[in-house]
């Protein structure tokens, strides 16, 4: 899952980015409104965490800009301004949730995953398919009830597969959702990563659709 974190405070941005990466997300960080507004590949961003107080403008205007431009990515506002006037305005401008700083990371993660779950039409917090269960909040993965150890990238990939279980995932989409902007991208790396994951979850679960991509079988 790839997130865009819009946060002007460098220290908090770095810390949140690290935490979110640790939770299995690829995180792009924008520190100004201008950067965020011109962010490339918005269509590959799975969710946005948006601070409202940006140095070069209001995050609320940025929100309206995205929603006006038909960007339907889930957006979670993370702000230090906690009045309901701001919350109501933000929600009505198209935000999906609102978290006031300081927030415990587990709560932020839970709210973020709830948004992603809602986006993919799921009700349960844990994702489950083909005997594999992945809890994005606790980062626990089990295969037929037995714990499974995955690397950060393997976790990200499995998370992506489970969210799109039964659907063909083109290799290009996998790259866009797994890697942050500016990270080295290589198709071979994806093949290697898929191979490693196959060995851990069972080769029959991830099939190659020749010329199209990969599919996680339900």
């Amino acid at each position: 899952m790839r997130l865009l974190l819009v946060e002007d405070d460098a220290e908090l941005g770095r810390r949140l980015g690290d935490r979110l990466r640790g939770a299995g997300f690829a995180v792009d960080l924008a520190t100004t409104r201008a950067d965020a507004e011109a962010w490339p590949e918005m269509e590959h961003i799975d969710a946005v965490v948006l601070d409202l107080g940006l140095p070069d403008g209001s995050g609320m205007d940025l929100l309206r800009h995205w929603r006006g431009g038909r960007v339907d990515t889930p957006i979670l506002i993370l702000t230090a301004r906690g009045s309901w006037q701001d919350k109501v305005a933000g929600l009505n401008a198209g935000a999906d949730d609102f978290v006031v700083k300081p927030v415990r990371f587990e709560e932020l993660l839970a709210r973020l995953n709830a948004l992603l779950r809602r986006q993919s039409g799921q009700r349960e917090s844990a994702l489950e398919a083909g005997g594999i269960r992945l809890d994005p909040i606790t980062r626990e993965v089990t295969l037929d009830g037995a714990p499974l150890q995955l690397s950060r990238q393997e976790f990200r990939l499995l998370h992506l597969f489970l969210r799109r279980a039964g659907h063909v995932l083109p290799q290009a989409d996998i790259i866009e959702h797994l890697y942050e902007l500016g990270e080295l991208r290589d198709r071979n790396t994806v093949e290697v990563l898929v191979g490693r994951l196959r060995r851990k979850v069972g080769t029959q679960r991830i099939t190659t659709q020749r010329g199209l991509g990969y599919r996680f079988e339900k």
Binding site: E11, L16, W84, L91, N92, A95, K101, P102, F105, E107
Partner: protein
């Protein structure tokens, strides 16, 4: 947004009012003036009528003397009747009498009975007095003239006092009627002038009333040169006040903003410390203190916002319009719940309450209801005794009486798994107090489940 109803100037005059002072002053002035005119006019008229009578009687007395002759027997006779025919009419009140010692007195034909006191005629000079006459008290004139043979003729002429009294009485009555009419006219004109003169003050009172009810943000309208500077000063004061409050709110927000971001970093550091297992106790203390600081910032900021807004004139909340964006936002926030806005058309009203405060209060209640509801939240607006009631009802687990009693305490949370800082109801209670509203919580009566929060807004 509906325009607020224009306050009408009240017809009842309060005791300490300029209008009453003016009316009483005019009443006193008109009464004194008219009374003085009434009194002096009557006195003047009396004197004038008396003088006329006296002059007339003196003329008649002298005519009587001129027309009196002694006949062959030495008895007094008139050569012809007096020119005034009233002396011929019986008991007309006009009498004369001529007497000569040793002779029967000669009397006017009008004097069919009684006599005049000839004692008044005791000198050659005209003497007058009010004496008893044939038909009551009479103004009596008399003098003497020498007669042949060394005798003295006594001439007496009299007119009943009642004639003069009647004239004065008639005049007084007529004068009184006209002066009363004049007094009423003067008073009415005075009141009209007062009303006209005080109309700008009435308009000012209405403008202040509109300001208080939130119908306008400043005193509107043009005023006379004497009042305009006062209105300008008041408007400048209001604007300055509004700016100060707006600036204070922004500064409070900025302060909260500048504290919360470093606090988020501290929270993160504490979490990392806790996760690393190096200093779990220190991490727990840091996390707890950071949480408390966050609570205090939120609580004090909300209080500062609402207590500043509660004193801001010219602000108004239109119901139910202002609830729509809140309900719409909550539908987005709690997507698996149904939110219903049930507004009674009779309860459509504009209240003199800062909309920021009221929406903060209602948002807290609706968000709380959204968190706890099983499936449905109803936000209703109704007319109630003493004002308008906004109720927020959910179909969640509800609360026990003990929980309700503690619900508005700072940091009180009944489910730690629920997101939030446990401040919502404490802040809601503070805002309700600041805006003069009453907040009450009640569990629904079984078999229904859920909680109903009611906000009674005065007005």
């Amino acid at each position: 947004m509906n325009a607020p109803p224009r306050p009408r100037p009240t017809l009842a005059v309060p005791w300490h009012s300029l209008r009453l002072r003016f009316v009483l002053s005019i009443l006193l002035w008109v009464s004194l003036g008219i009374g003085a005119i009434w009194y002096s006019s009557i006195r003047l008229f009396e004197r004038h009528v008396e003088a006329s009578y006296h002059e007339e009687l003196e003329v008649h007395l002298r005519e009587l003397a001129r027309l009196t002759r002694l006949d062959a027997e030495g008895a007094p006779k008139l050569t012809r009747p007096l020119s005034d025919p009233r002396y011929e009419e019986p008991l007309s009140g006009f009498y004369w009498q001529v007497s000569l010692p040793g002779q029967p007195p000669l009397r006017s034909e009008s004097m069919t009975r009684g006599a005049l006191d000839e004692g008044i005629a005791h000198s050659p000079n005209v003497v007058h007095k009010v004496l008893g006459g044939p038909t009551g008290p009479a103004i009596t004139y008399g003098f003497t003239r020498p007669a042949p043979g060394g005798h003295v003729l006594h001439f007496v002429i009299a007119t009943d006092q009642r004639h003069l009294d009647r004239l004065v009485r008639d005049f007084t009555r007529e004068l009184t009627v006209w002066l009363v009419v004049l007094a009423v006219t003067l008073l009415a004109t005075g009141i009209a002038i007062i009303s006209f003169g005080l109309r700008p003050l009435d308009r000012l009172a209405m403008a202040i009333s509109r300001l208080r009810s939130g119908g306008s943000a400043r005193l509107e309208g043009r005023y006379p040169a004497e009042i305009e500077p006062l209105v300008d000063d008041l408007n400048a004061f209001i604007e300055q006040n509004t700016e100060i409050i707006a600036r204070a709110r922004v500064q409070a927000g900025n302060l909260a903003h500048s504290l919360r971001t470093p606090l988020a970093v501290i929270t993160d550091e504490a979490e990392r410390l806790a996760e690393s297992g190096q200093a779990p106790e220190a991490a727990a203390v840091l996390l707890d203190q950071a949480r408390r600081m966050g609570q205090q910032i939120e609580y004090q900021l909300a209080r500062a916002r609402s207590s500043a807004g509660a004193r801001l004139p010219g602000t108004a909340s239109a119901l139910p319009e202002m609830l729509e964006p809140i309900v719409s936002a909550m539908r987005r926030l709690h997507r698996d719940r149904t939110f219903v806005l049930d507004a009674d058309p009779q309860a459509a009203v504009v209240l003199p309450i800062d909309p920021v405060d009221l929406s903060e209060l209602v948002s807290i209640l609706v968000d709380n209801a959204g968190k706890w509801a099983a499936s449905r939240v109803v936000v209703a607006v109704r007319r109630a005794a003493g004002g308008v009631e906004i109720s927020v009802t959910d179909d969640g687990p509800g609360m026990t009486a003990a929980q309700i009693a503690e619900a508005c305490e700072i940091g009180r949370r009944f489910d730690e798994a629920m997101p939030g800082a446990g401040l919502g109801l404490a802040i809601a209670r503070e805002i309700a107090r600041d805006i003069g509203a009453t907040l009450s919580l009640a569990a629904l009566a079984p078999p229904a489940r859920g909680l109903c929060c009611r906000v009674l807004l005065p007005g």
